[in-house]
Symmetry: C2
Subunit: 429 residues, 2 copies
């Protein structure tokens, strides 16, 4: 008999001596076709301070991958018996595929299953940690609908897109030291803001705290300073994807942003999912990007047959909930710029990559009203507030909980779920 | 007899068995009142791949500080016998002062000198490395003259300063993974540029490659996410200063920069000096900032008697050379924003600090023509090129070598030299 776990949320753990946690229902969204990676510790004492280990999610359980590798005499113990994903990330594409193949066997081949079963821990018994040490964090702006919406909101008298937007994926560096794992509370930031009518800026907690619904790309293999990474090498460097919420204080951002871009309006916190989904799990979800309306320079040009045969877009269906209520369902498939183009652009000047570099897609917004990835778009700068059971929302209030979840088409009609990213707003300290 | 080394550049090493490298001439700019920290390896085999150690510069020698600590039975071996400065940086202000006091004794007290002398290596026999692992890198824009010059150049029809400039230290995150140590060649970046008359962007090596003369602040002690660091805690977190050259490709920057700020125009390389000068060595150089022409919000306000008694500006005299010719002498004392204000602003939204965070002052430009810290200002966007022996320069050519050096008033009329930062432009690969 299979355990009852069919949704993403952790069900009550099934005692290991009664039911086999590896007997997942057919097509379970965290079944053997998925196998995302994270870092966990056992929370027996409730502190979350236990030893950290690489974990692989299997259903509603976490496999202690390093311990399983050791028990099976696997050579991959060297990249799995670690307190972060960094060693695995650095190991490169061939190892990534080999480790994934091994893990699939461990959770599906009966003889291996007997060995690894003791290393499965119910999700409810572990604490999940930031899965890798974030090196540099770059945030892009790759959704045409989002960029157009913000252009209309902030520069109503101009063309919504700046002249460079369709020639290069616009992006900027964010603060890697404040990237936190899903579940971490977000303290409402304070800062300067100035409405046009204010004679001088005022200081206080942000009153326009927002989300940005994004996908994050996790870089594994470094590159050499001075040497660009071409479009075609994307899969040699990028290990996998996560969900990312680029919390944004619109009032702080608006006042500070000229001429050097966002800083304090963004740098207080960026949340990522605890699970990194390897690109290999998303093969069935690959899609080509939308038609390019202007010709691209060769280093970004993905119009040829080679690029068409190796599409770098992903058909991810994202759901945004605020206090449990669905407020948006942005589609990732419509993003104008792909992760491969972002990577090629980010390095075309010779900037090197490091293991653990993270780059975000920018807010994902579709063409429809219910597909917008930020509150400033959903509520049109607060003018059309959301109706929630406990009142209206233009922007986030203290206590609000935002959760991003996503799934992608998997093999044989199954779904691949990404790990959710959730966070609660707590008052300024 | 004292060695002949009286300038910053490394002289021929004096055989240790003949002259005492600790017998420096009175007031030597790298005498016992200075003692900056770096990381070195011995270059016996020329590869620079030897074991890295914390080094302290004494005259034209490097003291292997960890080995000396071990030989003397010092407890500071735990922070000095390391391959980077990070442990020392994290140890905090009391330890910083204690270690400095110990080092001063080691190089001045005869009994200690006998013990440490074998651990002195001529500068010419070592390779200097990036002295710490850079966590986040933020670049500010704190010189009023520089910001005004760039405003006049780029937005001739507007007020040179944006409305926020005198209310907050404007800054943005840069790429920490491409921070390199002095002496590292800089590959000319390629990228997109578009002149107003161009119908579409073109791609190629930057034709407007520039420098930015800056001072870098090195953060030692981390802070907690959600908790701002007040102005008064600056010295509890910042360990010391370095020189910093924020290489900038003006053509790439100009086209990419709206609306999210600089990215590829800066991210290819940032050079810092190999030596970090502790704040304790710069006590005699502390100065108050210029008069504030608009009132500041309390978290940035340094107008009171407490701040006046604890000034956070530094009287550094900087020299910029291009191929050995002095092209500018920017004064650091006139910077509008201090490092304490930059730190308070950077964290006021709750953004945390990590050991190894680096923040730059932004280009340092004085009021005079010969005090401008970037070529775009010196040559007024290339319209008034420099006359060099080998031709005119609007911006940098391949093979050009730029060196920033600086000194500050030290105790008893001595000078404290900062380590220089130098870099040579090499062609796009």
């Amino acid at each position: 008999m299979a355990p009852a776990a069919t949704s993403e949320s952790a069900s009550e753990p099934t005692p290991l001596d009664r039911l086999d946690p590896l007997d997942l229902p057919e097509g379970h969204p965290f079944g053997p076709h998925n196998l995302p990676y994270g870092v966990f510790s056992l929370t027996e004492d409730g502190s979350g301070d236990g030893e950290r280990s690489v974990g692989v999610r299997v259903g509603d359980h976490v496999l202690d991958a390093g311990a399983a590798a050791a028990a099976l005499g696997s050579p991959y113990v060297s990249v799995l018996a670690r307190p972060s994903l960094n060693s695995l990330l650095a190991a490169g594409r061939t190892t990534w595929s080999d480790v994934r193949r091994a893990l699939t066997a461990w959770v599906t081949v009966p003889a291996h299953r007997e060995v690894v079963r003791p290393f499965l821990h119910p999700l409810s018994s572990v604490t999940l940690h930031l899965p890798f040490e974030v090196a540099d964090y770059v945030d892009f702006y790759a959704s045409e609908n989002h960029a157009s919406n913000l252009g209309r909101l902030f520069r109503p008298d101009e063309e919504p897109l700046k002249p460079n937007w369709k020639h290069l994926p616009v992006g900027y560096h964010g603060r890697s030291g404040t990237v936190v794992v899903s579940g971490t509370d977000v303290v409402r930031p304070s800062g300067q803001r100035k409405a046009p009518a204010d004679p001088a800026p005022v200081f206080g907690p942000s009153v326009r705290l927002d989300i940005e619904t994004e996908v994050g790309y996790v870089v594994g293999v470094p590159s050499r300073q001075g040497t660009p990474v071409p479009l075609s090498s994307y899969r040699d460097h990028v290990f996998g994807l996560c969900l990312l919420n680029d919390w944004s204080a619109r009032d702080i951002q608006n006042w500070e942003t000229v001429p050097l871009g966002p800083h304090l309006g963004k740098s207080f916190a960026t949340s990522i999912s605890a699970w990194i989904t390897p690109l290999d799990a998303l093969e069935a979800a690959r899609v080509g990007p939308p038609e390019r309306s202007v010709p691209l320079l060769p280093y970004l040009d993905d119009s040829g047959p080679e690029a068409a045969a190796d599409p770098a877009g992903y058909d991810l269906r994202i759901t945004v909930t605020l206090n449990g209520q669905v407020i948006s369902e942005p589609p990732f498939s419509g993003m104008y710029w792909t992760g491969a183009q972002m990577l090629a652009h980010m390095t075309v000047n010779g900037a090197s990559l490091r293991t653990g570099d993270l780059y975000g897609s920018g807010t994902i917004s579709g063409t429809e009203d219910n597909e917008r990835g930020s509150l400033i778009e959903i509520t049109w700068n607060g003018q059309q507030p959301l109706d929630l059971p406990d009142g209206k929302r233009g922007f986030l209030e203290d206590g609000d909980v935002v959760t991003l979840s996503a799934w992608a088409p998997g093999p044989d009609g199954a779904r691949v779920h990404l790990g959710e990213v959730t966070g609660r707003i707590v008052p300024t300290t």
